[in-house]
């Protein structure tokens, strides 16, 4: 067994050295990539200059780095972490590596409401660049995400929550939402829909501290909560009869963990739009890196942060000076990965 037991006076924990190494290593990589990311912008800087700007409040670039670049980089990392954590939980409960918060109705629900909000309000409320952008869109996304989850959850519930049923209902609901979204895009004003398109492909452009706050708060509260539930999550990956035999209150444990996943995904989507594939791929990458039997929660979150930060770096540099939305890059990277997963599952 690759886990070590840590025992102190009647208390005991299990520690997987490999998991710790992966988590710490990925965390270091996130910090490095964030620093590389913060070099970019109207005023090019070196990493050293970025670091000096962070520590020295009197330096010329302090404002630019602290008020513009750091929040953007942090939003990317935190949103990635939240999405990946939500993905790890969803995959464990659905017992399916293809499951992700899209399945829970969160991201698609958020997309529909945001597109509806942008298209139907037009430029009346200042469009996507004014007050609506800062508060209206995140609020709409949160509302839509939670509503989508409630719809999927209530349709999937039948004397208990079954993983496969959840996946099937989720895919159905996502298809309906996606089509409504496209319909809204076709009837909307071309300028509005253009702006809506940027949001629904997932973008970190212009993200400030107001986008960092909610995601940071969600992670601070929900990471410890989900880690406490991690043991139940491990048990939940067995057949229903085994889960109950082990003394787990199955529907309660499942419901609470899904609720946490929905909150994480909804808050993340509200901040940066539905960034594709991070929630799907990160837990599976973390699983392979740590060589564990189930998606490891903490390692998945850090890998998610790493993936999103790296994708953002590519999005900003690959076609410079044109900046792509980060979601486009994650989608381009994620699609072959998804095909690989499906191909493997067929074998």
């Amino acid at each position: 067994m690759s886990a070590l037991a840590l025992r102190v006076a009647g208390l005991s924990w299990r520690v997987r050295p490999r998991g710790v190494a992966v988590t710490v290593g990925a965390l270091a990589a996130v910090v490095l990539l964030m620093a590389l990311n913060m070099r970019l912008g109207d005023i090019p800087m070196s990493v050293a200059e970025v670091l000096r700007a962070v520590v020295d409040a009197g330096s010329d670039n302090h404002f630019v780095v602290m008020e513009l670049r750091l929040p953007r980089a942090l939003t990317g990392a935190l949103v990635g972490a939240a999405l990946a954590l939500a993905g790890a939980i969803t995959q464990s409960i659905a017992r399916n590596p293809l499951a992700s918060p899209e399945i829970l109705g969160v991201t698609t629900g958020a997309s529909v409401t945001v597109v509806a909000g942008v298209v139907l309000s037009g430029s009346a409320a200042g469009g996507v660049s004014g007050a609506l952008a800062s508060f209206g869109i995140p609020a709409l996304a949160l509302l839509g995400g939670l509503t989508g989850a409630v719809i999927v959850y209530s349709l999937a519930w039948r004397r208990g929550l079954d993983g496969y049923r959840l996946v099937l209902v989720g895919i159905g609901v996502a298809a309906v939402f996606t089509n409504v979204k496209f319909w809204l895009l076709t009837v909307g004003d071309v300028n509005d829909t253009g702006r809506a398109m940027v949001w629904i492909s997932g973008s970190l452009n212009g993200r400030g501290w107001e986008h960092v706050g909610p995601v940071a708060l969600a992670l601070v509260l929900l990471i410890p909560a989900t880690l406490l539930g991690a043991r139940s999550l491990d048990a939940l990956r067995f057949g229903d009869d085994t889960v109950t035999s082990l003394g787990v209150r199955m529907n309660l444990a499942r419901g609470l963990m899904i609720f946490a996943a929905v909150l994480l995904a909804a808050v993340a989507t509200a901040s940066a739009g539905p960034i594709a594939f991070v929630a799907l791929a990160s837990p599976q990458i973390a699983l392979r890196l740590t060589r564990s039997a189930q998606p490891p929660l903490l390692a998945s979150a850090v890998v998610g942060a790493l993936l999103t930060t790296a994708a953002d770096l590519i999005a900003r540099t690959a076609f410079s000076p044109i900046e792509l939305p980060v979601g486009v890059v994650t989608a381009v990277l994620g699609a072959p990965y998804l095909i690989h997963l499906i191909w493997r599952a067929r074998k």
Binding site: R7, S12, R14, R231, T244
Partner: protein
């Protein structure tokens, strides 16, 4: 009485499987439920293990309604091996067996020395110590079944419910599992309830047989009392001779043919 079903009615939706059934399991006994396919014996076992809630009547564990006891407390005294259980892909035998300790653990006591010794002991009892690090998917059907039994043993409960623990096993491994059951009963004083298909093995390793047909208990008692030619005709629609097992002296069923 460790476990008791009183006037129990069990149904999947509209379909009633068991109705008005009474059954008591004495402490320290091995009880085997037998009966033709679809007679409700697995359903009854699931209800005894609180995996299924009766739509009528009640199941009592040590005199208390099992559905009123926190499921985690139940898991500390009652272990259950479901029929064809499923495990996550890639899980090793050691990880599976370790999962049996779940009801004894909390977030601040994740892997005590008790946990470790229980798992080691359970692996040794089922002869799986050498295979501990192997993924479950790579094992043979018999080894896998022993791994699952091992997990139920690691749970450390003195009540064990085993739903067809010998399926997928060749005869020698069936005997091995049942020897293990006898050992658990005789040495460790555990109370065991099983569902078995092989009547001759059931007769040999069981204190008490319960014969079911169409959701009702037709006969209950010692193997000698229950396994009669009349009962086999009535319960299994089977014409058979019952002779004394030349090894153990228990009843031995020699089929003649199915009654038309």
């Amino acid at each position: 009485m460790r476990l008791q079903a009183r006037d129990v009615r069990l149904a999947y939706g509209e379909r009633v499987i068991v109705d008005g059934l009474d059954l008591g399991i004495e402490a320290g006994t091995v009880t085997t439920i037998i009966g033709p396919n679809g007679c409700g014996k697995s359903t009854l076992l699931r209800a005894l293990g609180r995996l299924m809630k009766p739509t009528g009547g009640e199941v009592l564990l040590d005199g208390k309604r099992i559905d009123k006891i926190p499921t985690r407390e139940v898991a500390k005294v009652l272990g259950m091996l479901p029929q064809s259980p499923t495990a996550p892909e890639g899980l090793t035998v050691a990880d599976l067996v370790a999962r049996g300790r779940h009801p004894h653990q909390t977030w601040y006591r994740q892997w005590s020395s008790d946990d470790e010794s229980s798992v080691t002991e359970a692996l040794a009892m089922t002869g799986l110590a050498d295979l501990a690090e192997r993924p479950l998917d790579e094992l043979s059907g018999g080894q896998r079944q022993r791994a699952w039994i091992s997990m139920a043993l690691a749970q450390g409960t003195d009540l064990l419910l085993l739903d067809e623990p010998t399926t997928f096993l060749d005869l020698s491994h069936q005997v091995e599992v049942l020897e293990l059951v006898r050992h658990l009963h005789q040495e460790a004083g555990r109370t065991i309830v099983m569902v078995l298909h092989d009547l001759n093995l059931a007769a040999r390793y069981t204190d008490r047989l319960v014969a079911m047909r169409e959701g009702r208990v037709v006969a209950a008692g010692t193997p000698h009392e229950v396994l009669t030619e009349d009962l086999l005709r009535g319960v299994f629609d089977l014409d058979a001779k019952v002779i004394a097992d030349p090894v153990a002296g228990t009843p031995l069923v020699v089929p003649i043919g199915r009654r038309s």
